[in-house]
Symmetry: D4
Subunit: 153 residues, 8 copies
């Protein structure tokens, strides 16, 4: 069984590559998908491609929708969604992704410092696991994806 | 056609009753649902009913899950979801509700001050309308629900 | 069994009230839903409620999305969708509604003059019946909804 | 992640091959599907295979249904649907395809000259992006499908 | 809990009214739906309403599709589908209805003489109960719908 | 909002009527559904109605399927499923009902003595709340269903 | 696009291999699935594997259910279902398969002699094409699956 | 057609490898998935990865949820679910898996000694086959997956 994982949320640290690298063992049939992590590129993609807007709302709107094509397609294809929340920024988009994924029946692993436990209680309650480090996420994905000799094929 | 509306989000102002009162005309077949808006009650409901916890995480967890029974049931029954975001608090639960509702195919009306446009761009991009005042939400709901003489029955 | 019918399409003739009036017999448990048929109201609803736009594209966009809240909610609630096409205007919105309704598993009755048969062949092929007059639509709805003595209850 | 794109609409220009050629880079895991673009073949396929009809309606009907087997199967398999509208012809079938794809949860990119903005406002409101040139569509698909080093696998 | 039952199949005997009459007790919240049981009316409805056809295939086609609007709508609304097969006629439409209902997750009660057990084995295998008399069907529906004092409300 | 609750599981104690009675306040719009709780009746219903079997397996099979018509229909109609496990009997049918309800997206409240926590850990992990007494279940249902003055309508 | 086709119905002629052979061109990405076509094997599979039954009903039941595992799994995986009806036998299982496939949104091609048009009118009305020969079915599948140079990839 | 089989239930005997080995013929396109069968590992995985708990309930909870990520993902990917029940332990998790799989439309093969027929009657009634030995399960899977010369491709 190949497991496809979508890595939602924070794009200001290298948590994604930590997880991807740790799962790159050939015995772990896991592949990863993620939003475009170049913040400036993602934020400006709408007007970069489709032409400028005078109103900031529509500039944001065009970019958010093009990014949403990628994000929703990836969530639909994912078997598991990992969502990272940090201390900075509002990150409403990450909570939006979690809500979307939950309604689509995708199991969620949330990754955040324990200090965010109270404001994230509804997100955590919708998740199958709440981790504090990328290493914990890696171990969870290994448990989900590992093939057992003579049993899985 | 009866329209059922779920009012998600902020419980620190009276925006819900403003909308409910304005839509109470007998010609408008709209009914409203909402989360339990008594903040202390909702936050403590888990341990109040099911017994105390030493760990704050599990206390929050039990409350969030009981509240989620109400919230998800109401979103499932809703025809339209209105979601209010304000300047204060993280409100990740509201973005979670929007994501859930979008994936269930529910049309969303978002209500927030224009100053929050950039951090809410993904939420707004998932919505059918973005309002700044409860009065605007009322007018949208009226347009959706109004019966026209000789045409609707 | 109550049958709910959504009347999609042309808002420049009185075809809807012809059908609604003819089905108003107490023995026919049929109710009707329709888009807002006041063309100027529907076209301007976005900026009327949510504020003006300098770009015509966004003006249209805001109105089309508010109208879509009504239209999609009604199609979801409908048991049968009747879609009227005429000689004038492009009416891409009506074909959009038919495609949406077909994918949701709703049976479609199309109403158009026979002269439009060739350009509407894909729409007709997606329908359960193709009528040329409102009277024919009425008879079809009667056949679908009629209660038979001693058999239906 | 492999992205499958269905190219709906106009068959009288070479817009499809422009997009397909521009996305043929080995780094872009995009594949394309399309309706049968030989107009005479598609229009006559019903009677060519299944025998002639005296009534033009049934001739059209048989062809439209065989073409629909292909079109609906491809939309079901697609991750993204691109729909092209031009100045000529009624193109109700393209709007039908868009409505069908929207209800199936497929993200839509619409491609049309800006002059068609008003009559296509409901179609555009159902889309994730509205482009005016095939080049813009190509850039959107690149943004959706691109693999990022060390992050996507 | 109100139980809605669709009575599919044979229209040449009075099995439907036997079941409906026996379930008319006020303590049994069961309502019944059925196809149009006037054979000539149902067979000719297409051309009666929409105009004659020279080819018998299209005459049958138009009638079958109008009847299907009624039948599919009723199966969608039904909680339970009862399907009657007899010795006469091919009754492929009844097996079609059963297949449709099974795929929609509706529980099926099949009613047929035991002599038809072998040719109906796939239909019976898709059912929750196989009855030989209308009285047995009545007892099954009573067991499904009965309210128990102090337990059901 | 009316809340429909299905009460699954143990039929050897009066836990159902305790919950139903406590929720009979006119301010609580809750209705209850349950399996047939007369054990002998439910166990023998298959052969009682449809004729005897020599093989105990088929006797059980016929009864279990008729009971399943009732149970699955009720779970489909339920907003919330309450499942009671006790010390006695294997109660695989109750765990089966929970699994079915979870996959249908129904929120689950499990009711069992704390001594059963370890063997029921997978069932509890699939639930939104784990109660030890009917009184706790009542309070949870009240929190889910209560109407708030001026907010819910 | 790979097209998977399920070949339902009659197992007493070689119509399946005629279609499979004609579609074996490397340019046609079509694969075929079918029920077990050895009639004696399929009819006896239940008791052959699971032990004998004294009652013919249960013997048939066990076989029909094991065959149904194969048939339903294949219909779920199919893009197109071809269903063959002939003059002999009741073939209720084939109509059952068609009903199941229609409800799952699969396009149907029916294959039968024109003499069966009237009794199969409801089946034909649920289909996208009605063929009389395997050659016609082959041509339809070719039209659905063919890749066009420079357009499909 | 590749058939994916999820092997649910008992982890205290080698029934899984018996089935996997017997199906390893290259002519049988069957692959197998299973829960983590190392009992101590699966039971402790939650606290091993995410940190200890003082309350046994939460320790079990964290493990059960991580295991559920694997189990539900595998059931979603499975074409057929085989569920083994034995004389020992409560095995509520296995019945939970069966209920979940049934609601997802997966065909079930149950494997248990005949002595468990009565308490498992509801589980058996939800299944497509009830086997007593792994050899019988192997034969069923062979019947489902076998490719027939000249017919399947």
């Amino acid at each position: 069984m190949d497991i496809r994982v979508y890595l939602a949320g924070e794009i200001h640290s290298n948590w994604r590559s930590e997880i991807v690298d740790a799962c790159s063992s050939p015995h772990l049939p896991i592949s990863f998908m993620s939003p475009v992590s170049d913040h400036a590129l993602a934020d400006g993609i709408g007007t970069d491609i489709l032409g400028d807007e005078t109103d900031a709302f529509w500039k944001d709107h065009k970019s958010a929708k093009i990014n949403a094509i990628r994000i929703r397609t990836m969530i639909e294809k994912a078997d598991v969604v990992v969502a990272k929340f940090g201390e900075d920024y509002r990150q409403w988009n990450t909570a939006l992704d979690v809500g979307y994924a939950v309604a689509k029946g995708k199991p969620i692993v949330v990754l955040h410092p324990s200090s965010l436990g109270h404001p994230l209680k509804e997100v955590d309650a919708a998740a199958m696991a709440v981790a504090e480090t990328p290493e914990q996420v890696v171990k969870i994905l290994q448990h989900v994806a590992i093939k057992q000799d003579g049993i899985d094929s």
